[in-house]
């Protein structure tokens, strides 16, 4: 071995010594010389990402710090937080919740030593945010309450902390039957709790909230209030197991707004902790397949309203009339009914793999906005079944400038393509400098056999893609950013890190990781 080391040192030193001096330092920003060869990279870049502009350095425009986080805090067990090493996910410490309270979400400050957690209390309207620190060995201190309070008859649905730690941004939603039904986004001083409230449409809750390092730019997404999905392109939407009741699909009222892209339903079992789920939430939301060219329509599907399977389709699929004048060639909608079998874990719903649609609808182009994960011979689920591990987020992101009190949140509709296929969105974060929205994207809906995923930066002005920061896995969900250069992601059943164009596995994790469940 010493001989190998000696030869290695000798050879590398000989190469290194061929350079005797470094060129003068140049600090001008415009230098992009080591994009070699530019024309070739540009051509390939265009081929890969269509209209996406690939620029060297990837995260350059979103960067704040490259210090590697040492700790990840996980809130999956709710009764306690787990402090893990960011290198390998090894458990370092646990932080037990106060009796009667459960951890819901966790966020990290930029120093990766100060962490914040959202807790829900015994009452449905009780929630609070606590702060604790970890030392260099990963040992956690005692959590202390941050003096922020939701309004009366509201609870905190989601939150984030600005990178500089001066602001806590949280979303509140009504939690009492006689509440006024309005959601609020609150930007509060972390020390005093004083802040500004902005009334927003939050549906049944905030899916995610993120902020720039200085807290001035905030991005948030919301959860839909009911089992309403919007269909504007071919998609398969999954409904609950059939019952013997007549179908009743209702179109949107005339004049209803018509988004230009589909809004993804959420999978059963993926409701974030603390979020109230409707009584029907044990059944998945409906997913509807519409042939190309069908105009956008709101389709409300009550899980109990889907008719039983009929002939002409797969065993577990039914054809139901699409109750809107804007029908496609056949006027039909395919509803794929999930298996009644319980999932092995009790948390993941198993659906029959939809592989075909009636010829009248053409070729199946995708399977909902949920990610299906093929079971690979673990014996727990039949091989012809797929697991839902994740459903896409809404492409609707709201951006708020906290420094402009008079300016209401602005709606941004993200859109992008990979290899010519439209992408769905999986986790979105405001970049540290507030100039980009960083999102996980995937073509899994359109390219069932060959899903492609990426981490992309979007321009918050128009929702257009600005950079591809990483590409190389089939599934990616953005979970957290550390200084902008290091993106914590879920990829299938792994938690990993995307940094400077490479992916590194941190640890295994079963099932879907919701927003705010891990942070670094």
């Amino acid at each position: 071995m010493n001989d190998v080391i000696f030869r290695l040192k000798d050879a590398t030193t000989a190469v290194g010594d061929t350079i005797s001096e470094a060129p003068p330092l140049r600090l001008e920003e415009a230098r992009k010389g080591f994009l070699v060869p530019l024309a070739a990279a540009l051509a390939v870049g265009l081929a890969i990402v269509g209209s996406v502009v690939m620029t060297r350095g990837g995260l350059n425009q979103t960067v704040a710090s490259t210090a590697a986080p040492r700790f990840i805090v996980e809130a999956r067990e709710q009764s306690e937080l787990i402090v893990r090493g960011a290198a390998d996910g090894a458990e370092l410490d646990r932080v037990e919740a106060t009796t009667g309270w459960l951890y819901q979400r966790v966020q990290a400050a930029l120093d990766n030593r100060t962490f914040y957690a959202l807790m829900n209390g015994p009452g449905f309207c009780s929630s609070r945010i606590v702060r604790f620190t970890v030392d260099d060995a990963g040992r956690a201190g005692t959590p202390a309450e941050v003096p922020v309070r939701p309004g009366a008859q509201t609870r905190i649905s989601s939150f984030t902390v600005s990178g500089d730690g001066t602001k806590v941004v949280f979303g509140t939603v009504p939690c009492a039957p006689d509440a006024d039904g309005r959601g609020h986004l609150v930007v509060a001083d972390a020390r005093s709790g004083e802040g500004r409230r902005v009334e927003v449409r939050a549906g049944s809750g905030f899916a995610s909230i993120s902020a720039s390092d200085d807290g001035s730019k905030i991005a948030y997404t919301t959860m839909s209030a009911g089992p309403t999905v919007v269909v504007s392109e071919p998609a398969v939407v999954v409904a609950s197991p059939p019952v013997s009741q007549p179908a009743e699909l209702s179109a949107a009222p005339p004049g209803a707004p018509t988004p230009s892209s589909s809004v993804a339903p959420r999978a059963v079992g993926s409701a974030p902790p603390g979020v109230p789920t409707p009584s029907s939430s044990v059944a998945p939301r409906a997913i509807v397949s519409v042939p190309p060219g069908v105009p956008t329509a709101f389709i409300s599907v009550s899980p109990a309203d889907v008719v039983a399977p009929s002939g002409g389709a797969r065993e577990n699929a039914v054809i139901v009339p699409m109750p809107t004048p804007s029908t496609g060639p056949s006027g039909d909608v395919v509803v794929v009914v999930p298996s009644a079998e319980p999932s092995p874990s009790g948390e993941i719903v198993v659906y029959t793999a939809p592989t075909a649609v009636p010829p009248t609808l053409g070729t199946l182009e995708g399977v909902s906005s949920c990610r299906f994960f093929a079971v690979r011979g673990n014996g727990q689920v039949p091989a012809d079944r797929l697991r839902v591990i994740d459903c896409a987020d809404s492409p609707e992101v709201y951006v708020l400038d906290a420094d402009q009190p008079a300016t209401p949140p602005r709606r941004v509709l993200l859109s992008g393509e990979l290899d010519g296929a439209k992408v769905q969105f999986y986790g979105v974060r405001m970049s540290p400098d507030g100039t980009r929205l960083i999102a996980g994207v995937s073509t899994g809906m359109a390219r069932l056999d060959d899903p492609q995923a990426a981490v992309m930066a979007f321009d918050p002005a128009g929702g257009e893609p600005a950079e591809v920061l990483y590409r190389g896995r089939s599934w990616l969900r953005v979970l957290d950013l550390a200084g902008g250069t290091r993106v914590l992601v879920q990829s299938e059943h792994e938690i990993g890190e995307v940094s400077e164009g490479t992916y590194r596995k941190v640890m295994d994790i079963p099932g879907r990781v919701m927003d705010g469940v891990v942070a670094w």
Binding site: M1, V4, I5, L8, K9, D10, A11, T12, A14, V15, G16, D17, T18, I19, E21, A22, P23, L25, R26, L27, E29, R31, G33, F34, L35, V36, A40, A41, V44, R56, G57, G58, N60, A64, S65, T66, A67, A68, A87, D88, A109, L110, D111, T114, R131, G163, D164, G165, T166, A190, R191, D213, G483, R486, E497, S499, E500, G501, T502, R504
Partner: protein, 175 residues
């Protein structure tokens, strides 16, 4: 609550001076390291320049001036990875790019035996190659290597061990 980022409060002039000083002290070593990784001087110099440019942009966010050098090492590594990754792209339609250090023109300069080691080194997985270079060329400690690579010290130890085994095997095969 205190701000999480401690601004070291240097003026832009102080910043430029500090970075210039760092460049004087470390640019040559980093360029040599990058050269071994990417194989050609121009790319190596650009990787280092870009690292300093990045440091210049982010200086305000640097919590500890002592972290500047580890940052630069890590940044050079990342930039070198980007060079290697992008170098693969043109080969799809323009043939593989063979940088000077790995090409025949370097044979006379380096000697056959050294070239054999370098070729073996570049047959290793990227992470193993980086671990070997940081440990045995740059002579960093395991802790410093871990910091530069963004991995744990244990990972550095195991990766280095595997890399040495693999390098020995490749060189043995060629013997």
């Amino acid at each position: 609550m205190q701000a999480e980022t401690v601004d070291i409060a240097l003026s832009s002039g102080d910043r430029d001076e500090a970075i210039s000083r760092l460049y004087e002290e470390h640019a040559l070593g980093l360029t040599r390291l990058a050269l071994i990784m990417v194989g050609d001087r121009e790319s190596a110099e650009d990787a280092v320049q870009d690292a300093f440019l990045g440091l210049h942009r982010r200086w305000r966010l640097l919590r500890d001036p002592a972290a500047a050098v580890p940052y630069l090492r890590s940044s050079v590594l990342n930039n070198a990875r980007s060079v290697l990754r992008r170098r693969r792209l043109p080969s799809w339609f323009a043939g593989a790019y063979d940088p000077p250090v790995w090409s025949a023109e370097s044979a006379a300069l380096l000697g056959a035996e050294r070239r054999e080691v370098l070729e073996a080194l570049h047959r290793l997985p990227q992470r193993q190659r980086e671990a070997l270079l940081l440990r045995y060329y740059a002579e960093l400690s395991e802790e410093e290597t871990a910091q530069a690579m963004g991995v744990s010290r244990g990972t550095v130890k195991s990766t280095t061990s595997r890399a040495l085994d693999a390098l020995g095997r490749i060189l043995g095969e060629n013997a």
